[in-house]
């Protein structure tokens, strides 16, 4: 128990990261048909921006709030200028475009902040650990866990209980209908994209202090997030949460016992889920239901 407990805890945190990234990807994918290959780059971008802000003397908490918003600004600029013309075209184009942007971003990070990553330590108040009797949990991880839970809850409330959230969900289900109802679809696409980037950005800043910050750090979360989307069921909010936690746990526990199989574990889960439920665990539940 003593050595499994921290691994389970870490696995759940990792899983919550996957879930948050997967929800953003899924929102963008379902509404606009864009597989955003640059999603990880926005996480990295927010991480580096927070790092730069803290380095320039900004308080960590301000950085945590400002850096994701700066990433959102960049994201919305990209959406409006480059991705928007592609909505009516085959998904291959937006996929290639965002892939190209992720290449540019990765190289730009390398040029600006160096190839080897930078140390981004959590603020002093979040240092140290809390003893739980059998083990010691780092405070920063507890903080991350709490923050991710808050993000996920906020998303659930936003998407299921606010007028704008409901409208987004309706649009995801039926794009034709929503424009017939007179909603400004282009604005909706933009807000949706911005929302996806915002949560990716916050997750990016949080992850920087735990998983490290280097030019590829965001991209390394992207593949597990894709798998999370598939396992949870395309377009299912609940599925993304369950799928993310499941995969986080699986990766973390296999790392403990069979380190060589840690990534392969998630593909085994994906294959098994698809064999049993071709649409993913909660694919039947409907769109963001």
């Amino acid at each position: 128990m003593a050595h499994i407990a921290p691994e389970i805890f870490n696995g759940l945190i990792l899983g919550a990261f996957y879930a948050v990234v997967a929800i953003g990807l899924s929102l963008i994918m379902n509404l606009t048909g864009t597989i955003n290959m640059a999603h990880g780059s926005f996480m990295t971008l927010a991480g580096y921006l927070a790092f730069a802000l803290v380095g320039a003397g900004t308080n960590y908490w301000y950085a945590l709030a400002i850096a994701p918003l700066m990433a959102v600004a960049v994201g919305i600029l990209m959406e409006r200028t480059m991705i928007r013309p592609l909505y009516r075209r085959d998904p291959v184009y937006s996929l290639l475009l965002t892939f190209g942007i992720s290449l540019i971003a990765e190289e730009a990070f390398r040029l600006i902040w160096g190839p080897n990553g930078v140390p981004f330590s959590p603020p002093k108040g979040l240092g140290g650990g809390i003893s739980l009797g059998f083990t010691v949990f780092p405070v920063y991880r507890l903080f991350i866990a709490g923050a991710l839970v808050v993000i996920i809850l906020a998303l659930v409330i936003f998407l299921q209980h606010t007028r704008y959230g409901l409208r987004l969900r309706a649009a995801v289900q039926d794009r034709e209908m929503i424009s017939a109802l007179g909603t400004n679809t282009q604005l909706l696409y933009m807000v949706n994209f911005g929302l996806g980037i915002l949560i990716a950005g916050i997750a990016g800043v949080l992850a920087a202090g735990m998983l490290g910050l280097n030019p590829q750090s965001g991209n390394s979360l992207l593949m597990p997030a894709f798998v999370t989307v598939i396992v949870g069921g395309m377009g299912s909010l609940f599925g993304a949460i369950v799928g993310g936690l499941l995969i986080g746990l699986a990766i973390s526990l296999t790392t403990l016992y069979i380190p060589a199989a840690s990534e392969i574990a998630m593909y085994v889960i994906m294959a098994v889920v698809l064999l049993v439920r071709p649409r993913g665990l909660f694919g039947e539940e409907g769109i963001f239901g």
Binding site: R89, D90, V92, L96, F99, G100, L103, A261, I264
Partner: protein, 338 residues
């Protein structure tokens, strides 16, 4: 599917003359012959993508899995069984097919972005296997092997000899591809790409056609990968990575998906461009990324596709899957199969 006409034949003939003369021409253009070989290899790889993207209407972003399997298939068979040149290529080709047979059943149930997403995810499995199974594959460091002699003759193909061997393979693939897309099977694939529901209402089990197309594509991709392995005498996990997939898809789109020689045009620009830029600029990934952006926004039909549009009587060439309903998650008559 339109007949290419007399000028098409002339252009093709000129192209092959240039390819035959490449070992003589390359030094004058300050190009290494290996770059010419790479152009042909990646043109083959991009043709595999073209079969799916340009003719079948599914996006194989994850094709590098088959490419890398080909390289590892060739390398492992040379290292462990000391097979000859041709045998190693055959084994590499088969390795690609085996990969497709393994992941194909998972992909076939979906279309559009869902197919693409599944292929990205499943394609990456092989990357992690190569990366993690260090004692077989050499892990992150990759594996070195030697280029084996040609069966029976005992000749070691080097430089121009190797180039001509790859040119022969390229030519065979082009001819095979050309015949394939003109066959009833090729016509059926194009029909599926344009309107899968209609194809099903003509009595065609479209899943089977897409699966066979996937296997043919994986075979070509595996062959290209095996050739690449023999060219650099090395196989490493990044060959299986999605970044490699992205590069090959880019070459296809850059040249023009849905055209016979589009992949070659794309491979010429990409490979030579990479060679020049990566030696000149340490940050060459930025112009590469910009090339993706420019190609998508500026030349969606690719250079060859756009050029062919300018020819009289060849208007309305299609871009891949024009305005698909990407959200169509599954074929309708399966929708309620539960």
């Amino acid at each position: 599917m339109k007949p290419i006409g007399i000028w098409g034949w002339v252009a093709t003939a000129i192209l092959f003359v240039l390819l035959l003369l490449a070992p003589q021409l390359a030094p004058r253009l300050h190009l290494a012959l290996t770059i010419c070989t790479d152009v042909l290899l990646f043109a083959i790889a991009a043709m595999a993508v073209n079969l799916l993207l340009g003719y079948t209407g599914v996006l194989p972003f994850g094709n590098a899995a088959f490419f890398g399997l080909g390289a590892y298939g060739a390398g492992l068979s040379i290292q462990n069984f000391h097979v000859g040149f041709i045998t190693s290529l055959v084994i590499g080709t088969l390795a690609g097919v085996v990969g497709a047979v393994l992941i194909g059943p998972f992909l076939l149930r979906r279309r559009g972005i869902y197919f693409a997403l599944l292929m990205i995810a499943f394609g990456q499995v092989f990357y992690f296997i190569a990366y993690r199974f260090t004692n077989i594959t050499g892990g992150e460091d990759g594996m070195n092997f030697t280029r084996p002699p040609l069966e029976g003759l005992g000749i070691h193909l080097q430089d121009a000899g190797f180039y001509y061997a790859i040119l022969l393979i390229f030519t065979l693939v082009v001819v095979g591809f050309w015949l394939l897309v003109r066959s009833p099977f090729g016509r059926t694939l194009v029909a599926i790409k344009q309107n899968e529901v209609r194809a099903r209402y003509l009595g065609l089990n479209t899943d089977r056609f897409i699966f066979v197309a996937l296997m043919i594509s994986a075979a070509i991709e595996g062959l290209a990968g095996a050739c690449y392995g023999l060219s650099i005498m090395f196989a490493y996990p990044l060959l299986l990575d999605w970044h490699q997939s992205g590069d090959i898809v880019l070459m296809t789109i850059l040249g023009g998906a849905g055209t016979i020689f589009g992949p070659l045009v794309g491979a010429i620009i990409y490979v030579i461009g990479e060679d020049i830029l990566s030696t000149a600029l340490p940050w060459w990934q930025i112009p590469l990324g910009a090339l993706f952006v420019a190609c998508v926004l500026g030349f969606p039909k690719g250079l060859l596709g756009t050029a062919l549009d300018l020819l009289p009587g060849r208007k309305n060439r299609i871009e891949p899957g024009h305005d698909l309903d990407f959200a169509a998650p599954i074929i309708a008559d399966r929708e309620t199969t539960r």
